[in-house]
């Protein structure tokens, strides 16, 4: 298996506050789906825009399929389908017009796959962009990134603004892309979609890549928000004493807390009472970042 993206000490510092990324060493293999995760402002978009040649690195280097991102930026972009995190499309243009233009730019003669994707996402290719909602523009953005079947997809928050059904369809497309041996590099804020499609994840915090690990490890170590509702008030102390239980709050028959370990002991203890309600929620990615990669350093 080859390497789709390789960065060595990639650094981009800009602005008066010195924002950007510092010494990012990253390797994404061909054929994998790589989730690039981090809180807002962590450096995800800066990394992506530097890889695509929109920003010049201030240090280090990077290659996409062995092509230098600075010297061979056009060659890199010929192999990449890109969906920017924040983008707009020319108001007067229709999706069809835009795709025809991009097809000419890329030497693609057939828009068959673009039309297939439009059908699957429910995108209207015949209305001008100014008449499309944010979600529908996002669909056109996705199609323009996907329609030429690039060996590498770089997608910055691709499901933002999409309704759940289209999100599902998009994740199917990502899985198909992977099945074809192509590579996907995408940033996301949604743990469930990361868990579903990503083989590995990279965590970036304050411009530094702090961890790269298989997705299941990130998901496994994530805590859960638990709320137990009993038919009458029960003492909270036995629950607070369980391993991994933190921040327990008792409100009448309701107990709320965070669980950092497996739920076996909790379930057995709860089963001693009459349980009328159980909520067992995953945290958001932001909460995971704060907990495991928070400012106070390192992994939990």
């Amino acid at each position: 298996m080859g390497t789709a993206i390789r960065t060595e000490g990639l650094t981009k510092v800009y602005g008066r506050k010195g924002r950007g990324i510092k010494d990012v060493d990253l390797e994404v293999n061909e054929g994998e789906v790589f989730g690039f995760l981090g809180p807002n402002g962590a450096g995800k978009t800066t990394t992506i825009r530097t890889l695509l040649g929109f920003m010049r690195p201030t240090g280090g280097r990077a290659e996409v399929f062995g092509l230098d991102i600075q010297r061979e930026s056009v060659e890199v972009r010929a192999r990449v389908g890109n969906l920017p995190g924040e983008f707009a499309l020319e108001d007067k243009t229709t999706g069809e017009g835009l795709l025809r233009f991009f097809a000419r730019m890329r030497g693609v003669g057939d828009l068959g796959y673009a039309r297939e994707l439009a059908g699957r996402f429910g995108a209207d290719l015949h209305r001008p962009m100014r008449r499309l909602s944010r979600g529908n523009k996002q669909k056109i953005g996705l199609i323009q990134a996907l329609f030429h079947r690039p060996p590498l997809l770089i997608l910055d928050e691709p499901t933002g603004g999409l309704d759940p059904l289209v999100q599902e369809e998009f994740l199917d497309v990502v899985e198909e892309t992977k099945a074809e041996g192509r590579t996907v590099f995408f940033s996301s804020h949604v743990l469930s979609e990361v868990e579903r499609v990503c083989d590995r994840v990279g965590i970036i915090r304050e411009g530094e890549l702090v961890d790269v690990e298989p997705t299941h490890r990130l998901v496994d170590k994530a805590f859960r928000h638990v709320t137990l509702t009993f038919d009458e008030p029960v003492g909270g102390e036995p629950f607070a004493a369980l391993p991994g239980v933190e921040g327990l709050k008792a409100d009448g028959p309701k107990l709320s807390f965070t669980l950092h370990s497996e739920p076996d002991a909790l379930v057995k203890l709860a089963a001693r009472h009459r349980l009328v309600g159980l909520e067992y929620e995953r945290p958001s990615l932001e909460e995971i970042f704060l907990t495991y990669y928070g400012k106070n350093g390192g992994e939990r």
Binding site: G2, N82, K92, G107, P151, G181
Partner: protein, 286 residues
């Protein structure tokens, strides 16, 4: 396949990325930009053409009393008349030059200024740049392609303006030679393009569309004023060559001065090349 193999073959099996030939993307870029500008061409061309046509039409009522008007104008200071290009109002070509073609660049230059400012800084502000440059387009092609399309659109506006002027002259039986009309409108082209070049450079250097409009627009008025005042004031006469308007002349009366024509066009081209250099080196912001 190894990365090295990928590089050699330019793709990977059935998922090979089709790399468009860099030069093949330039005509597509020009064609698309011209298409996007077509509405503006129609509006600008019709507006200026109708104004010019109205001046031609007014000449028919005016020409009968031209002798009296000329005598009246003798009372005005000679320098002032020269400043506004008025020598003989009985001559349709001089009349058209003073009423239309001396002022036309002042208005029409805003077309290339606005278009060029929108090409880079405007696209960054609108957020369209990342999607466009996500394609395998070299940055120089974006600048050159946009500038070429602005130059073509400008020709379209002038052609429309010339056609409406000439059609009115024929309809109103005004003796305005076709060659003079063509020379008059064509002569406006390099002057306006030059200010488009300034706007393109500002668009490439700065990240703000407002600056890319304000700087060339200020330069446009400053140069117009300098050239006009230079005709009146001996103190400013020496500074006239600094103004691009100094090289504009009256093509409707004297024909096109091709040295000045190509000189202005070359300056515009040089400004575009500077814009290419500036844009190649800088970050793109959204």
């Amino acid at each position: 396949m190894s990365v090295a193999g990928l590089r050699r073959k330019g793709g990977r099996g059935r998922h090979a990325a089709r790399r468009a030939a860099p030069l093949g993307t330039l005509p597509a870029l020009v064609l698309r930009t011209v298409r996007l500008q077509s509405r503006g061409v129609l509006i600008w061309g019709t507006a200026l053409g109708l104004y010019s046509a109205a001046i031609v039409a007014s000449y028919t009522t005016f020409s009968a009393s031209a002798e009296q008007m000329n005598r009246l104008l003798e009372a005005y200071p000679q320098g002032m008349l020269e400043a506004f290009g008025i020598t003989d109002l009985g001559d349709v070509e001089n009349y058209m030059n003073s009423q239309v073609f001396l002022l036309a660049p002042l208005a029409l230059a805003f077309f290339p200024i606005l278009a060029a400012a929108g090409t880079i800084a405007g696209a960054e502000e609108r957020g369209t740049m990342d999607v466009l440059l996500g394609n395998p387009i070299p940055r120089w092609q974006l600048v050159v392609g946009s500038f070429a399309s602005i130059a073509l659109s400008l020709l379209g506006i002038l052609a429309l303006m010339g056609a409406l002027t000439q059609a009115t002259a024929i309809l109103m039986d005004v003796d305005l030679p076709l060659g003079s009309t063509i020379a008059a409108v064509l002569n406006v082209w390099p002057l306006c393009l030059l200010f488009g070049g300034v706007a393109m450079l500002c668009s490439a250097v700065f990240h703000r569309r407002a600056l890319a409009i304000a700087i060339p627009a200020s330069l446009l008025f400053a140069m117009y004023l300098l050239n006009t005042l230079g005709r009146i004031s001996e103190d400013l006469e020496n500074l006239q060559p600094v103004s691009a308007f100094y090289y504009h002349g009256s093509a409707i009366e004297d024909g096109i001065d091709w040295t000045n024509f190509w000189g202005l066009a070359l300056v515009a081209l040089a400004l575009m090349l500077l814009a290419v250099l500036a844009f190649r080196r800088r970050d793109i912001y959204t």
